[in-house]
């Protein structure tokens, strides 16, 4: 039997090989260098960070605040996060020990997965869901267990299906609501049922709430605010989406002391701390950014209605998304696969969308279209899709 040595083994780890390249990336590579193309592919606000928030970072620079901060984040920011969670969700966290500031919510998710998982532990995730979830779990040594969600059930994660997927190795449920890519939100009663399942099976809940403030006509509770859930939930959030601060990379996690301590330990050996100017900006956002959220939500809501009604009028039935900034129209009526549709649409009409399959098997037959782009671009892309459909 051949012996694997450092000389003949592959240069990358088994964990890295186990993860797939993102299905989103492929379409951006096709898009690069294409003149006159419209992208509905980027999951990012199209606003520049509000000026008062940028000014807070400039002020920090002018005053020489350019050093490392505490590993867990500046005490001021952690205090502000605690105030925010109390004000918006009625959650009380101790900034000393129950909150850690991270490099975006992505790092928070990675830290949480690494802090709670042992090799072979299973984590339940909704299918479809954000591209990073399965890879993040795999890289932490865990096994992602997708639980299908259905358009007929508004892409809500069914607690009964979750219960069925639980095994002795199940360690956690990873929730991402409001959801990327569907825009689905979970109603309170279903979250409460899910909480019962989590309690019965002693599971940790990782709740990615980054889109929590971008909702239309509904308010979404934090999972940790459900009875008995604060003790077992890690709230993952950040300022990227609600305050249009994606490039600043400021996220945070709030949760049980033991888990946050574990996450902070990994964080201090990897990132050390989030950027000091970014943290200064985040304090200003959390303190005074509420009107910015309101203005952006109002604007996104207009675009959402144009895109969703546009798809429906083109005969591509579109689920009514009540959160995030994605529409998830069905293209099943065309007979094309998601990949085929997205690729041909990009080549024929220069409109970039992301095939639903990038987010899991359940995404087959759907496209993710981001409406955080200007209204004229949305209208033009709908015209192009109409033209594309007429030729099928």
């Amino acid at each position: 039997m051949p012996v694997e040595t450092s000389l003949n083994r592959s240069m990358t780890s088994k964990a890295v090989k186990a993860i797939k390249p993102s299905g989103i990336r492929k379409f951006f590579d096709l898009l690069a260098g294409m003149d006159g193309a419209i992208s509905l592919g980027v999951g990012e606000p199209d606003y520049i960070t509000p000026w008062h928030i940028r000014e807070a970072a400039i002020y920090a620079l002018e005053h020489g605040r350019t050093m490392y901060t505490s590993n867990a984040g500046t005490p001021e920011l952690r205090q502000e996060i605690a105030r925010y969670l109390s004000r918006v969700h009625g959650l009380e966290y101790n900034p000393l020990g129950e909150i850690v500031v991270t490099v975006g919510v992505s790092e928070a998710l990675d830290l949480a997965a690494r802090a709670i998982l042992d090799p072979g532990d299973e984590v339940i995730i909704p299918d479809p869901s954000y591209v990073s979830y399965p890879s993040c779990i795999t890289l932490a040594g865990g096994i992602p267990v997708p639980v299908p969600t259905w358009e007929a059930e508004s892409f809500e994660l069914n607690p009964k299906d979750v219960a069925k997927a639980i095994t002795p190795r199940t360690r956690a449920i990873l929730l991402g609501y409001p959801a990327n890519p569907t825009g689905a939100v979970m109603p309170y009663d279903k979250l409460a049922e899910l909480a019962i399942v989590a309690e019965r099976h002693n599971l940790i809940v990782l709740s990615d709430e980054i889109y929590n403030r971008l909702t239309y006509g509904v308010t979404v509770p934090s999972f940790a605010s459900l009875p008995g859930m604060k003790e077992r939930t890690v709230v993952l959030n950040g300022v990227s989406k609600a305050y249009s601060m994606t490039g600043w990379r400021i996220g945070y996690a709030a949760g049980p002391k033991e888990i946050i301590a574990g996450m902070t330990k990994i964080h201090q050996y990897t990132m050390l701390c989030a950027s000091s100017m970014g943290q200064a900006a985040a304090i200003e956002a959390l303190k005074n950014g509420e009107p910015d959220i309101q203005a952006m939500v109002e604007d996104y809501n207009h675009r959402r209605q144009v895109m969703v009604s546009g798809f429906n009028s083109l005969g591509l039935s579109c689920f009514d998304p009540r959160g995030a900034f994605y529409a998830f129209p069905s293209i099943k009526s065309t007979g094309l696969s998601s990949d085929e549709f997205a690729e041909r649409l990009l080549k024929d009409e220069k409109v970039a969308v992301v095939p639903g399959t990038a987010f899991g098997q359940q995404g087959e037959g759907y496209l993710r279209c981001c409406y955080a782009t200007s209204l004229p671009q949305i209208e033009e892309s709908l015209e192009r899709i109409k033209r594309f459909l007429s030729r099928l």
Binding site: S22, I24, R25, D29, E44, I48, Y130, N180, V306, E379
Partner: protein, 161 residues
């Protein structure tokens, strides 16, 4: 409520069609059209305007803000003089101000000479006008909420999210 929503949409882009507004707000096309027509009739919507950055096309345009100190008239206060001022086609905008002067008049002309003529031969000749101070505009940085100089560009790069 819906009326306010429509007005805000049109204020940010006057070219938004009633059809688009209907899709944006969820209101019916008939209702949207009726509200817009009503707002036009009662002058809630005064005019549909385009903010032009003239520096991009020509230099043949001079703008000045003229501070006017006036003596208020019996019965009509400042209104009668203001009316005489705003009836000049050269006066694009006229405000009654608090503080060290009374009227602010925005004037646009082809040359500085033309603006100066308006001030010396028309504006300062009005009975009750005590004095004027003319400030020529050198550069327009922002107008009607729009930044005209060095606007920010959204530069999205390839990212997976």
């Amino acid at each position: 409520m819906l009326k306010n929503e429509i007005l805000k949409i049109l204020e940010s882009d006057a070219r938004t069609t009633p059809e688009a507004i209907s899709r944006m707000t969820g209101g019916s096309l008939d209702e949207i059209t009726r509200i817009i027509k009503g707002a036009e009739a009662d002058r809630t919507i005064v005019r549909y305007k385009t903010v032009v950055n003239w520096e991009k096309v020509s230099n043949e345009r001079v703008e000045a803000i003229i501070e006017v100190k006036v003596t208020p008239q019996r019965d009509t206060g400042f209104d009668a003089i203001a009316r005489r001022v705003y009836n000049f086609p050269e006066a694009r905008t006229v405000y009654l101000m608090s503080g060290t002067y009374d009227l602010a008049v925005l004037v646009t002309g082809k040359t500085m000479h033309q603006v100066a003529d308006f001030v010396s031969q028309k504006l300062s000749q009005i009975d009750g006008v005590q004095g004027t101070t003319t400030h020529f505009m050198l550069k327009r940085y922002k107008e009607d909420g729009e930044v005209l100089a060095g606007t920010e560009q959204i530069n999205r790069q390839q990212v997976v999210l």
